[in-house]
């Protein structure tokens, strides 16, 4: 769907005379990588530890430096396996962090959009490392997981392009260096 949308918006941009994405735009595409993931049962709640390596692309970094806030989401989906049928989605939880530049202090502020907690960092990578390290994230109550063998979860981290300013969205759909997300990483509850 996104590829189709990219193609259509790209065609429109070409038609509007702004040209396709250039070779330079591909130079630094950034990379989101989910390296470790584990779910633990603590006090009847499954908590997720996810560690990822997040590197922004040049274009995203420029946007951040230009005052654009970026939202990075950890998306978690829990499925129940079913025989002879598609697996059913039991729960979907998302943890979002917003990264923005604070001009006066020249620091990057990371705001946990769930709790409102703010942390400041001098370097953008430090901020990204903080976002990429999500520990003790409660994902589902153990009561729901009646038979752990039949359940599995998957998670990914991604830059939410739909949270970007509207003027950036066509470009965010068009250019690959805005498409920053990890693969889905799966774990089991056993």
């Amino acid at each position: 769907m996104h590829r189709l949308a990219s193609a259509i918006v790209g065609l429109l941009l070409v038609a509007a005379g702004m040209g396709p994405l250039s070779a330079d735009a591909r130079a630094d595409e950034g990379r989101f990588d989910l390296r470790a993931i584990d779910a633990r049962l603590v006090d009847d709640v499954y908590r997720l530890d996810a560690v990822g390596r997040l590197e922004l692309s040049q274009r995203a970094r420029e946007a951040l430096e230009g005052g654009v806030a970026l939202t990075i989401a950890l998306e978690v989906e829990i499925f129940r396996r079913r025989a002879w049928w598609l697996n059913s989605e039991v729960a979907t939880v998302t943890q979002r962090h917003r990264i923005e530049l604070h001009e006066l202090s020249r620091q990057y502020i990371v705001t946990h959009l769930g709790t409102g907690e703010r942390r400041s960092f001098f370097r953008v990578q430090s901020a990204l490392d903080h976002v990429g390290r999500s520990l003790d994230f409660p994902v589902i109550d153990a009561v729901i997981i009646d038979d752990p063998a039949r359940y599995y979860g998957r998670a990914r981290m991604r830059l939410e392009r739909e949270a970007l300013p509207w003027a950036l969205r066509p470009a965010a759909i068009l250019y690959a260096d805005w498409r920053l997300q990890t693969e889905w990483v799966t774990w089991s509850f056993e």
Partner: protein, 755 residues
């Protein structure tokens, strides 16, 4: 299916108007996103896609229209060239102003967005930011120095509780919101914070701050972590000057992990006025920076929206051009189709009314023209039907009259011939129509003789003429000769008749025969009457002479008288018989018609002859199951007697006399009939007698009245039958009688009826 739906959509206005309105609305929303980002921001890309798909759809429709137009153009369809010209004109008319507006709009968008970003304003904002930062740095610098002095006073070798006490005292002294001591591994050792302060601070310092301070320099800067209250954070490194005693085992610091450094963190609230100013500067700079960064994407988005609007307008114009051209051309197409239909003879063509403009006038005129043409055509057809009806009537009359009618054109070709002509001449003339009369003279002897009479008159181009002549008899007509009365007249040489001749002829044989028979009957009646009267006195006189004189005369005279009177008496008897025969012929009694089984009758009569000992034998060959005849039984019996007698007499002196009697069913010229044949094995009938055998006083015998066969013929004709005499190929004569079956009993056999 898909193509049909596309063509339907492409040809109908309202779905397209709806689609255009929808796309225009979405484009309006796109164009107004700047003011409603929060409300409509999430719909931006879907709307963009909707427009792209809509425009793609319209493009496909226009492609369909174009393809149709190209196809019509190639097929040289009526109006295709004009449609193409109209479409091209509309497209050019739409494209030129739209393109001009588009190019100016592009310019306005670029310059308009650029005008938001005044260099002076930008510089002023940067300066304000710099000033704020400098001011805060200055403030922070003072706080750093006081914190460093404080750090110099701190004894890190004291216990944790003591340290906490020290920190508390110091914090109160310097009016900090928080004072905390961390190990170089970023573990909090002790802290003190203002009671009313929220516990948002973590137990650790930001990692990159620790790294920064590890270099030995203290840090003083703004802490942005609390959005509502700006703070200055000062972090001062302290060298570990002795063994730290406060590290407890539960702090998980082993001996080898004795801290080399401590970090003293102090948080100072920024004074309210500075905080407010700095916050506003931060907000304004942040917004402006974002705007600057989004300048190009904004232009792109606006140009994209504008381009979509332009594309939609152009496509709308092109589609409208096709639609309008088609609407305009509709009456012209109708006219072309209507003209073609009229050319093919369909005068009922009516075109749908098309408004009150000039085209509407043409359409109305066309409809009026076709109405008049139809009227004229109907009248012509009516006249033709009338003419055909009259012709058919004339033909029917000609077919049903007994007079033969032939028409011959000016070239001497047979033009028409009615069925009576064919019947009289005995051959089918229809296949010979259109051929020269002279060419088929040899086809048939009767025709040849007919033409011998007719052709000289035609060749002489006589005006009117009349001839009477005989034709040889046809087969099945008892060999009788036909007496023909023929009249001819020249047809007027006019444009509608083109000259030629009409020849009318009648077969008057029957009439002549009837007249002859009537004359014979009269002759017979008078003869009988005239002869019969003196016969009785003659006979009586002769008998009296005989009676009176025979005994008185001498022997010699008596013998002579005896012979003479005997002869007179015998001859008078013979003459009486002859007179009776004449009387019978002249005065036939009324026939008593009844159902007769011919086979039974034949058998009955044959039995009367079979018992004779004079050597005669009757041979029967009767077809079983013959239908009833409606006939006078006694008269038919007379017919059989006459014929059998004739047959026997014809074989007199031939030893055994054999007569063959046969019956069979046959389909005669007048319908189903029963054929009765009587055959002898005598010398046959002389050829010269064949034609007149059935006329009175025609006989081949030495003795006979010559009325036997005439009576046979008379009786047969009273039964509406026919009689024919032929010589058999194996010798002997054969009389064939054909008696028609009554209409109702043609299928019923006597046996079936009896049942």
């Amino acid at each position: 299916m898909v193509i049909r739906v596309m063509q339907r959509l492409a040809n109908s206005a309202w779905p397209m108007v709806g689609l255009f309105a929808l796309l225009l609305l979405s484009l309006y929303l796109l164009a107004n996103f700047a003011g409603n980002i929060e409300r409509f921001g999430q719909f931006y890309v879907p709307l963009l896609l909707l427009n792209a798909l809509g425009i793609g759809f319209i493009t496909v429709l226009i492609g369909t229209n174009t393809w149709n137009l190209v196809r019509q153009f190639r097929e040289r369809a009526a109006g295709a060239r004009l449609t193409a010209r109209l479409v091209a004109m509309f497209v050019v008319l739409a494209l030129v102003p739209v393109t001009i507006v588009y190019s100016f709009s592009l310019q306005f968008i670029r310059s308009g967005i650029d005008s938001w970003f005044d260099v002076e304003v930008e510089r002023a904002l940067d300066d304000a930011l710099e000033l704020s930062m400098a001011s805060l740095d200055l403030h922070a610098e003072g706080l750093r120095r006081s914190t460093e002095r404080l750090a110099a006073r701190l004894d890190t070798t004291r216990s944790r509780a003591d340290l906490r006490e020290d920190l508390h005292d110091m914090r109160v002294d310097i009016d900090a919101s928080r004072l905390a001591l961390y190990s170089d591994h970023n573990w909090m050792v002790a802290s003190s914070q203002r009671g009313d302060r929220g516990g948002l601070l973590d137990d650790r310092l930001p990692g990159d701050l620790v790294e920064r301070v590890r270099s030995g320099d203290s840090f003083a800067g703004l802490d942005p972590e609390r959005g509502d209250q700006m703070q200055v954070r000062v972090v001062v490194p302290l060298a570990n000057e002795g063994v730290v005693t406060f590290i407890s085992p539960e702090d998980q610091v082993a001996d080898e992990a004795q801290p080399e450094w401590f970090l003293l963190e102090a948080l100072y609230p920024v004074p309210g006025e500075i905080h407010a100013l700095a916050s506003r500067v931060q907000s304004a700079v942040g917004t402006h920076r974002e705007l600057v960064f989004l300048r190009e994407p904004l232009k792109t988005s606006y140009i994209l929206t504008l381009s979509l609007v332009l594309l939609l307008s152009v496509l709308t114009a092109v589609w409208a051009a096709f639609f309008s051209a088609r609407r305009l051309m509709l009456p012209i197409h109708s006219l072309a189709d209507g003209t073609r239909a009229v050319a093919e003879g369909n005068y009922a063509t009516r075109l749908p009314a098309s408004g009150r403009d000039e085209l509407g006038f043409v359409v109305r005129s066309f409809n009026e023209m076709t109405r008049r043409l139809r009227h004229a055509s109907d009248q012509a057809r009516e006249s033709r039907l009338q003419a055909e009806s009259q012709r058919a009537y004339l033909e029917a009359v000609l077919e049903r009259i007994s007079t033969g009618v032939l028409t011959i054109d000016a070239e001497g070709m047979l033009y028409t011939a009615n069925s009576a002509a064919a019947r009289i001449l005995g051959l089918d003339l229809a296949p010979r129509t259109g051929r020269r009369l002279a060419d088929f003279a040899s086809d048939h002897p009767a025709l040849s003789q007919f033409l011998n009479v007719v052709l000289p008159h035609i060749e002489q181009e006589a005006g009117e003429w009349r001839e009477e002549f005989e034709l040889p008899g046809r087969a099945g007509a008892a060999g009788e000769r036909q007496i023909i009365v023929c009249r001819g007249a020249r047809l007027p040489d006019r444009e509608d008749l083109a000259g030629g001749w009409v020849i009318v002829f009648d077969d008057v044989s029957a009439m002549v025969k009837a007249q002859r028979e009537a004359a014979w009957a009269e002759v017979a009646r008078r003869l009988a009457h005239e002869i019969k009267n003196p016969l009785t006195p003659i006979q009586l006189s002769a008998e009296r002479l005989r009676h009176k004189l025979l005994e008185q005369l001498p022997q010699a005279e008596a013998e002579m008288l005896d012979r003479s009177t005997w002869t007179i008496i015998q001859q008078v008897d013979a003459m009486k018989g002859m007179v009776r025969a004449f009387a019978d012929y002249a005065a036939s009694p009324a026939a008593d018609m009844a159902r007769v089984d011919i086979n039974e009758l034949v058998t009955e009569v044959a039995d009367m002859y079979s018992g004779h000992a004079d050597g005669c034998r009757i041979e029967l060959d009767l077809e079983p199951g013959l239908p009833w005849l409606l006939a006078d039984r006694s008269r038919l019996r007379q017919v059989l007697h006459n014929l059998i007698k004739n047959a026997l007499e014809a074989q007199r002196g031939h030893g055994e006399r054999l007569v063959g009697l046969s019956t069979r069913r046959r389909d005669g010229a007048e319908g189903p009939a029963v054929e009765l044949a009587v055959r002898d094995h005598g010398p046959g009938i002389p050829t010269e007698l064949l034609d007149r055998l059935f006329e009175p006083y025609t006989t081949g015998k030495l003795r006979g009245s010559g009325l036997g066969l005439a009576i046979v013929k008379k009786i047969v004709e009273e039964h509406r039958g026919g009689v024919q005499a032929v010589n058999h190929v194996d010798g002997g004569a054969m009389i064939i009688i054909e008696l028609p079956l009554p209409r109702a009993d043609r299928e019923a056999a006597p046996a079936e009826v009896a049942q």
